[in-house]
């Protein structure tokens, strides 16, 4: 009980720190944007058009250069994103690295500050999670508590950045924890509330959308919102595909990885001379997209396509930053396009903003894999029930269609490409990430090919095993023999034969990096007592993993998951 209360307290503390960090981060980005002539306000207040044009190209280029150098100090040579923390929590690894956390936050800050078309919520979420994980490590808490602390940081970051504590709590559960244990709920809620209180003191901001109270969509417009949801899923898919495709292409460019962001920055700056809307997070663009008549249909298409391309280029070429804010902008532009077309067809009246919000939700929810969070953000930001139900209508089709065509979210797809498949749930991911190496036993009976059958039987009897493994003088694996076969040979009077003349029994062979999940696939088609572990490169025999220990590991992981996901305190 005391331990649980301490965890709640840690949650509140994490929430407060994450909120302060988030407020600091957001303020620093605003300050940099004004200073570096990225924000419209900064640009408008600067009176020299030629210098402004030079700055428009130079600032993102230099920002990209700085970010590229920064990434060389990170082990993976790229900034960490929410995908990393999802992986850490889903595989119960926890322990987010502090160094990579700090460098990734810095990378996000420079990228956003210099006008790259990326989002701020990714870095904020990762920063909060790193703080939580660090707190758990300082207090020497277990892996489960580490996961909860990470979720606390995530919830706090969302609560602070959006002024939406409920969305923060739901996001932490829906995207990061992926379970709803009461044990995690209380600390996460404490973090969200603490963060909300601090953020409302420090960051004042207007509602993201303004809705005139009189507008209520007609019943058949809801059908339109559902359709927007289906189409939005396609836009979301295009957005995610574009990000990943640019990433793949960038790897083939004859350009050093540390210079790629600078190239993206230069290209971004050049296009921004023509369409400045694509610079930065695009809050102004998002706002205009909710205003009927602010864009013509053609403008909407141009800005939508360019914003999508700019974001894919910035993230794919290695700028640090999130995918959420650009998705908000792209989605709102898409919704506004639907709204404009509906208005031109005489179908929509003063419900334009509903279309914009539906488009926003339809594109954003699939990208982050969080339909409930997106709905709650709309609800908490607008306080409008009518708008939230309209958004709900569009999410109905958006999330499942995108999941069918693409995957649960961009994060999950990125992880799957790095070898962590979360599509079959957490227990599988956990077993996939548990390495066989740790279960390795050296009790197995090994035989030299020159040993006689009699010697082999004696060794097996002494060890109490039914199978032995032949290794040559250079410890290379040379197949398995069973006690039964050896006995048969002895029965035939071949006791003096060498073991390499004995029949080979095929046994599964895996490398030391193979996962428990891989090992579990084998007992299904082979009945043996152990799996042989061999170093793939040199063919060296490393030992065996007994089926009993695989089963034990499986049970242990399942129990740990159960405790984490169904514990109450």
């Amino acid at each position: 009980m005391l331990r649980f209360l301490a965890l709640v307290l840690l949650g509140a503390l994490t929430g407060s720190l994450a909120a302060l960090a988030a407020v600091g981060f957001v303020s620093a980005v605003v300050w940099l944007n004004d200073l570096l002539l990225v924000s419209p306000r900064g640009r408008m207040m600067f009176a020299h058009p030629e210098a402004l044009a030079i700055a428009t190209v130079l600032v993102p280029t230099l920002g990209g250069l700085a970010v590229g150098q920064l990434h060389r100090a990170i082990r993976e040579r790229r900034p960490h994103t929410p995908a990393e923390l999802i992986a850490a929590v889903q595989t119960r690894r926890g322990r987010l690295p502090a160094r990579a956390g700090v460098l990734s936050a810095l990378s996000g800050l420079i990228s956003l500050g210099s006008g790259a078309s990326v989002g701020q919520y990714g870095p904020l979420v990762h920063m909060g999670a790193s703080l939580g994980s660090l707190g758990a490590r300082l207090l020497r808490l277990g892996r489960s508590d580490d996961n909860v602390a990470i979720a606390c940081g995530v919830a706090a970051a969302i609560a602070a950045a959006f002024h939406a504590p409920l969305a923060g709590i739901v996001f932490a559960h829906e995207v990061v924890l992926r379970h709803y244990a009461l044990r995690a709920f209380a600390p996460v809620a404490a973090a969200a509330i603490a963060s909300h209180i601090i953020a409302t003191q420090a960051l004042s901001r207007g509602a993201l959308f303004h809705v005139t109270d009189t507008a209520v969509p007609t019943p058949w417009e809801f059908v339109g919102f559902i359709v927007i949801g289906g189409l939005g899923a396609l836009v979301a898919g295009a957005y995610m595909h574009a990000i990943l495709a640019v990433g793949r292409r960038a790897a083939k460019l004859p350009l050093r990885p540390s210079l790629r962001p600078a190239a993206a920055g230069a290209a971004l700056g050049l296009v921004a001379l023509w369409v400045p809307d694509i610079l930065g997070m695009g809050q102004e663009t998002l706002r205009f997209a909710t205003i009927q008549g602010a864009f013509s249909s053609l403008d909407l298409v141009i800005v939508l396509v360019l914003k999508l391309a700019a974001t894919a280029m910035c993230i794919g070429m290695g700028f640090g930053g999130g995918v959420f804010s650009p998705a908000l902008v792209i989605g709102t532009l898409f919704g506004a396009l639907c709204g404009t077309l509906a208005t031109q067809a005489g179908l929509a009246g003063d419900t334009f903003v509903f279309y914009a919000v539906c488009g926003m939700v339809a594109v954003t929810a699939p990208v982050i894999g969080a339909p409930l969070t997106t709905l709650l953000i709309v609800f908490e930001l607008t306080g409008s029930y009518a708008l939230t139900t309209a958004a709900l209508a569009s999410v109905i089709l958006a999330s499942p269609i995108a999941a069918q065509l693409f995957g649960r979210s961009l994060f999950d797809t990125q992880l799957a490409r790095r070898g962590l498949d979360l599509s079959a749930g957490r227990s599988r991911a956990l077993l996939q990430s548990a390495r066989l190496e740790h279960l390795l036993s050296e009790d197995g009976v090994t035989l030299s090919p020159h040993d006689s059958v009699d010697q082999a039987i004696a060794a097996l009897s002494a060890g109490g095993h039914g199978e032995a493994y032949r290794i040559d003088s250079r410890r290379r694996y040379r197949g398995s023999v069973t006690l039964a076969d050896l006995e048969v040979m002895r029965g035939k009077g071949q006791g003096h034969f060498r073991v390499n003349e004995c029949r080979d029994t095929p046994r599964p062979v895996l490398g030391p990096d193979a996962s428990v999940w891989d090992a579990m696939q084998h007992p299904q088609d082979v009945s043996g007592e152990a799996i042989v572990v061999v170093d793939e490169a040199s063919d060296t025999f490393l030992g065996v993993v007994y089926e009993a220990s695989i089963t034990r590991a499986y049970i242990q992981h399942s129990e740990a998951l159960q405790r984490e996901e169904h514990g109450t305190g």
């Binding site: 924000s39 306000r41 408008m44 207007g206 400045p276 102004e284």
Partner: protein, 383 residues
């Protein structure tokens, strides 16, 4: 300058004396005696009813309380005189009443002394000054003492059966038909035009910083039919009084004067009011700097701010003072309805972004002139 015209004055001195006696610990005899010894405080302020109200609510009570006499000098609000005086090394004033926008420039140019929030008193309820003052009231060299607003006023008799309730109604000539009068300047008009699209107050200047935002705002203004441009501050009231327009922008003090003193059938639409700050500053080289700080502390106390706002419709910069404002001491008018900072009126108030205008005004004005070239005001435009 948002100035009300001279109100009818009756028993003002009597009342001030009464107030002073209640307030003060020092008996009049002692005050009289110290008058001769204390060096007078030279205050530079605006003219008209404004300075009369200051005399009654601030200067006379200050003299009563401290024995320091106050000498009032008038100016037109510009920095030119002060700049000359500072350069000359002979500054004849100790305290200046100055627009916040000018105070910012003056501070940056080193014409003003830094002011610490230490000189301010807490509210009667004990709220520390820093939390009691409205946002943006305390800057390095200036302390906001009151707030005035540019608002829209309309003729009560123009729209039978309905009243404008939000700033978007200024642009809605279907529901509220009739000619409008607006100041011939981009400031305030652009803000209102963009607000009418449903943009929240906090984002106005960020959005006006984009080409898209500017052209949206100008489109609204261009679509207004029967628009007259005014330049002199007295024109809006005159145009409304003569029934030449049914809605006009103008300073809240002028409209107050027209409604209360002249009994004209007009009403203020507070939605979207654009607020500006009046501040106290101490010039560099002021001889009585110590008395000046003492005066600023005294004049910005909750009680004095309340007294000032009850005579003239300027919003106090302290939340505690705004809450205490009640009726005009002479006419009995409920002043809460007339001061810009009262919560009833300030729900969707914009604070004019002076830093933004300082850097952009000329370019914005060019855009504005280019988009709205026609001088539709014609003969009605005052000189």
């Amino acid at each position: 300058m948002a100035q009300a015209k001279r109100p009818t004055t009756c028993a003002r001195r009597l009342l001030t004396l009464g107030l002073a006696t209640v307030l003060l610990a020092a008996p009049p005899a002692l005050t009289q005696a110290s008058d001769d010894t204390a060096a007078p405080l030279d205050v530079l302020s605006w003219g008209g009813t404004y300075v009369e109200a200051q005399r009654r609510a601030l200067f006379e009570p200050f003299t009563q309380a401290t024995g320091i006499p106050v000498r009032v000098h008038r100016y037109n609000g510009s920095l030119a005189q002060l700049r000359q005086a500072v350069n000359r090394g002979d500054v004849p004033w100790d305290v200046i009443d100055m627009r916040r926008s000018r105070a910012r420039t003056g501070c940056a140019d080193g014409l003003l002394q830094p002011l610490s929030a230490e000189i301010l008193t807490p509210s009667p309820q004990g709220t520390p000054a820093k939390r009691d003052f409205i946002d943006g009231a305390l800057s390095r060299c200036a302390i906001t003492h009151s707030v005035f607003a540019t608002v829209v006023a309309y003729r009560r008799d123009a729209f039978p059966g309905q009243r404008p309730t939000e700033i978007a109604d200024l642009f809605d000539q279907q529901r509220f038909p009739g000619p409008r009068a607006l100041q011939r300047d981009p400031a305030v008009n652009l803000e209102w035009a963009l607000l009418s699209y449903g943009v929240p107050e906090q984002e106005i200047y960020r959005l006006l910083s984009t080409r898209r935002g500017l052209s949206l705002a100008l489109k609204r203004l261009k679509n207004l039919e029967d628009l007259q441009w005014w330049e002199g501050g007295d024109a809006p009231v005159r145009l409304l009084a003569e029934n030449k327009v049914v809605m006009a922008s103008g300073y809240n003090g002028r409209f107050f004067d027209a409604m209360v003193d002249r009994d004209l059938p007009i009403e203020i639409l507070w939605d979207g009011q654009v607020q500006e700050h009046e501040t106290w500053v101490i010039p560099r080289g002021a001889e009585q700097a110590e008395s000046a700080r003492r005066f600023i502390g005294f004049a910005t106390a909750t009680e004095r701010q309340t007294a000032f706002a009850q005579i003239i419709p300027y919003g106090p910069s302290r939340r505690s003072a705004t809450r205490q404002v009640s009726n005009h001491p002479d006419s009995g008018v409920d002043m809460r309805l007339h001061i810009p900072t009262h919560p009833l009126n300030a729900k969707h108030a914009i604070t004019k972004d002076e830093t933004w205008y300082a850097r952009t005004h000329d370019r914005i004005r060019d855009y504005f002139r280019e988009a709205l070239p026609g001088d539709s005001a014609g003969a009605d435009n005052p000189p």
